[in-house]
Every structure is written in C-alpha cells, then in structure tokens.
C-alpha cells in the first residue's frame, strides 16, 4: 500500500513537472515578439484562423492541458536529454516530436488539406510549444547521471522554490522586473536579420540539441538552497543573458515556423 502511495506521488510529481514552464508573461512576450516578425501572408492567415495575436494564445496550452480533451498534450511541453544531449523520444511525450509533426504536416500547402479546426488547434499548439521548448526548466536531464542537472530547490524571498516552479512563476519577474510584453519586445527584439536567420536555421531536432547543450549551464548558475538575491551577481547577470537569448530563440523560431507554413 505504501509503495503504491509512493508511486502515485512520484507520478504526480512527474506530471506536474511536465506542463508549464515559462510564466504566462514570458510566453506572451515570446508570442508578441513573434507577431512582429510574421510575413504579410502569415499575418493574414493568423488573423483568419486565430482571430487573435500569437501573444493571446501563447499560454493557451497551459490552460487546456488539465482538461480531459487535451490531457495528452500535457506531455508535449518539454524535452528530455540523455548524457550525450540526445533528446528522448519517450513514445511521443516530448515537444520536439509534435512541433516537427505539425510543421511537416502543414508546410508546402499541407495545411490546405486540413479542416479549419485542426489548423486552429495546430497553430495554438505551435505557438506554445516552440516557446516552451526553450525554457531552461523544460530541458531536462534526468537520464544523465551528473548530480549538477538534477532537480533542486533555491530560496526566493525566503521561500523554498523548486527549479521548475522558479521558471513557472518567479523567473521572468526577477530578471526583468515590471516588464510588459511590449518591454520585452522593445528590449529583446533587436537582432539583425542575419542574426535572426542564424537562430532560425535548422530543424526542431537541431534546436533541441543546441538547447540540450546550452541549458546545462543554468543548473550550475543557481546555487541550491540559497536565496536568489544572495547569489553572485555575475551568476545572475549570466542567467539574464541566457533567459534573454532563449526568449529570442523561441520568438524568432516561432515566427519562422508560422511563416514557413504559410509561404506561398
């Protein structure tokens, strides 16, 4: 009986770590930056199918993940890596498989073969997943034996906060206090077309591999069981750089995927 309870508790912990990652604000900021980079064709299709900006639907998948209808998608937010930074397929329970699947299905006019409601759901999912795969806490290394990449907690304003929860809620407000979506766009949407093209080059699998390599660093910057404000300033500064880069990657790649899908 006790073993069963432990298993249930472990399952719940696992499930809760899957969904959510960036806070709603960061997701919306990623959507807002992506909105600015849609081609006129993609923008027209966005308006036609979604009747909203990408920013509006950026957190949608987190809202519906807990309904029976979308229960399956709870496992489509994150990516897990092995020790060699290869992402784990896990029977489709990862973000990359579904970003690639939807992108391939819809590109080269493929979306024209789908009914409108499928297109709408696919666009909403992409809007969330492409941002989410870039969140540090959604790059998981639980198959890696290194103790540095295990789940741990820090202290934030005196309270114990787990790694995942930190990125869910506290992180965006900590690194950029009081920023709105517009502030994120104004401050981070500053790359040249050449830099943006470099970020967008490749496939979701390649982006994941890059994240798998890069997202180990944040685990080393936050010191377990330590108050965030007491951590070395250089760690926080580096963390801010990483957060900003991940937001840029998420935003530009999201626009790139949507533009490619609706390319005439």
């Amino acid at each position: 009986m006790k073993l069963r309870l432990v298993l249930v508790a472990l399952c719940l912990a696992f499930v809760s770590a899957e969904a959510m990652a960036w806070s709603g604000l960061t997701h919306n900021a990623i959507g807002h930056i992506a909105d600015q980079h849609l081609t006129p064709e993609a923008k027209a299709k966005r308006n036609h199918y979604l009747n909203h900006t990408l920013a509006y639907y950026a957190s949608w998948q987190d809202e519906v993940a807990w309904s029976k209808e979308y229960a399956e998608t709870r496992f489509w937010h994150a990516v897990r890596f092995d020790a060699k930074n290869r992402f784990q397929y896990r029977e489709g329970r990862n973000a990359i498989t579904h970003i690639s699947r939807i992108w391939n299905e819809m590109r080269n006019g493929g979306y024209k073969k789908l009914d409108d409601s499928t297109i709408v759901v696919n666009l909403k999912l992409l809007t969330h997943m492409v941002g989410d795969m870039h969140c540090p806490s959604h790059n998981m290394y639980d198959a890696d034996p290194s103790p540095k990449v295990k789940r741990f907690s820090i202290l934030y304003k005196g309270k114990k906060v787990y790694w995942h929860k930190f990125w869910d809620s506290s992180a965006s407000s900590y690194f950029h206090r009081k920023w709105t979506c517009r502030d994120y766009q104004k401050n981070l949407d500053v790359l040249t077309p050449k830099q943006i093209a470099k970020i967008c080059k490749g496939t979701p699998e390649q982006w994941a591999k890059q994240n798998g390599k890069d997202m180990r660093e944040p685990y080393t910057l936050l010191i377990p069981h330590t108050e965030l404000s007491e951590m070395p300033a250089e760690n926080i500064a580096r963390m801010t750089e990483i957060v900003d880069l991940q937001i840029q990657r998420g935003a530009y790649r999201l626009a790139h995927v949507i533009n490619d899908i609706f390319k005439e």
Partner: protein
Amino acid sequence: MKKIFLVVAFALVAFGASAWNVTQDEGVVVLATKNLTPEAKSMVEKYLGTSYADDVQYLTNLEKKKAAKHSKEIHYLHLDSSLQPMKVEGDDALASLEKMMEVVRTRNSHSKAEVVTALRTIINLMCDIHNFSYVRIEGVPHSQQEFTFQSYGGDVGKRKTTNKVWWSRFWNAYGGWHVGFSGNLWAEDLELCHGKQREEFAAGSLQEWVSQTAVQASKLYERIKPEYAMTRRERNELEYLNYEMIARAGYRLGKLFNELAK
C-alpha cells in the same frame, strides 16, 4: 486582530474594490481612441491631452488617496428584480454617467476642470458598467456583496484541486491569458477578435447597454452563487465573455465620445 482584518477587508471590498485591471482599462481607452471621429479626437485631446495614463483609473486613484468626493455607489449598477435601474442614495454608475455626459454636452458653460473630471469619470464608468462584479440586483443577495466560489483547476492530474476565488477578483485578474498585455496590445488583439462586430457592439443607447449587462449578469448570478464549483472549461468560456465585454466597452466609449463631440 482578526476583527480589524475583517473590517479592513470589508472596507476594501465595499469601496473601490477591484474592477478590471489598469491594462484592461487602458485597452478600452485605446480601442475607443482608434474609433473616434476627428471632431471627438480633438475634443478629447483638448481636455485630456494625448496620454490617458492618469485617466483610466481616475476614480480608483482618488479612492486610494482618500480624496474621493463621490459616493461609494458610483461604480455599481443598481437594478430592481425586473432588471430596471433603481434609484439609490448617492448616484450609481448609470446616474453618474448621465450627469457627466450632460456636463460634456454643455461643456462651454463649465470650467475646464469640470469637463476634465466628467470625461475621466465617463471613461472609468464605461468600464465599470461592463464589469459583472459591479452589478447589484435587488432580491439577489450574493450580488449585494463580495462572495467566493470554488474554481476547479482541471479534470485531470494535480489540477483537480479547487481554489477559492473572489467574485470581483475573478473578473479583474482574469488576466490569466493576458498577463503582460499593455493597453495597446489589448486593443490590437480586441480589434482582431471583435473588429467585425464594431458596429453591432456600439449600436444602441447607454440604457440599452446597461440592460444588456444586467441580463447577462443576472444569468451569471443565477448560476454562480457562493461556493459554486466552476470547471476549468467554464472558466475559460467566461474568459471569452469578459474579453467581449472589454471590446464592447471600448467601442461604446468611442461612440459616446463621438456623439458628445457633435
């Protein structure tokens, strides 16, 4: 200690409780501004300038500074059991709106300060009359005061748990999806979603708009009572309804200013 807390909590709830949040109100104003005639634009700019930062929560800010001269009823719509406007001691939102509109209509016989106050009050109250938490219906006890209900996190997983939610907070912070939206982003998104309904939303008179809010609020109060258990799906549906109300407020505020400027 507990008593003091309760008194403070009640005072907060009873006076100047939460309406929509600042960015939602800004969204209403930006949307209205996009739909002004040149005549109305020039009238609004003459009195309020081009930045509405001080205007969107004018009444609430006065209340926070304890500098309010208006009645605490100013935010609310008081309706009898057949949903007709009711006279209350101190003007409610509808009565106040009508008075302020008259000031703007006869603006040449008023001081600039009076017209500024009237325009600011109109902006605030046009938001309030579209917010269900400000509707009080005779014979519906839970509409007369703040109450809580239960909101389910979801049908599956850990979100099966319920959270206690305050009625006014529910409509106000329903920024869940829209956190970080500025007024401009609200307006851009509202136009995308409801731009085609602009004429439909703005049609009718102030009294008809109030009546529409009243009918909708009455249905909501019938369903959502203290300790009601709301599903996640229902919560998301109400999010869309609230979103529509913000769009209605924006298009109607624009129309009102256009008419007043004539």
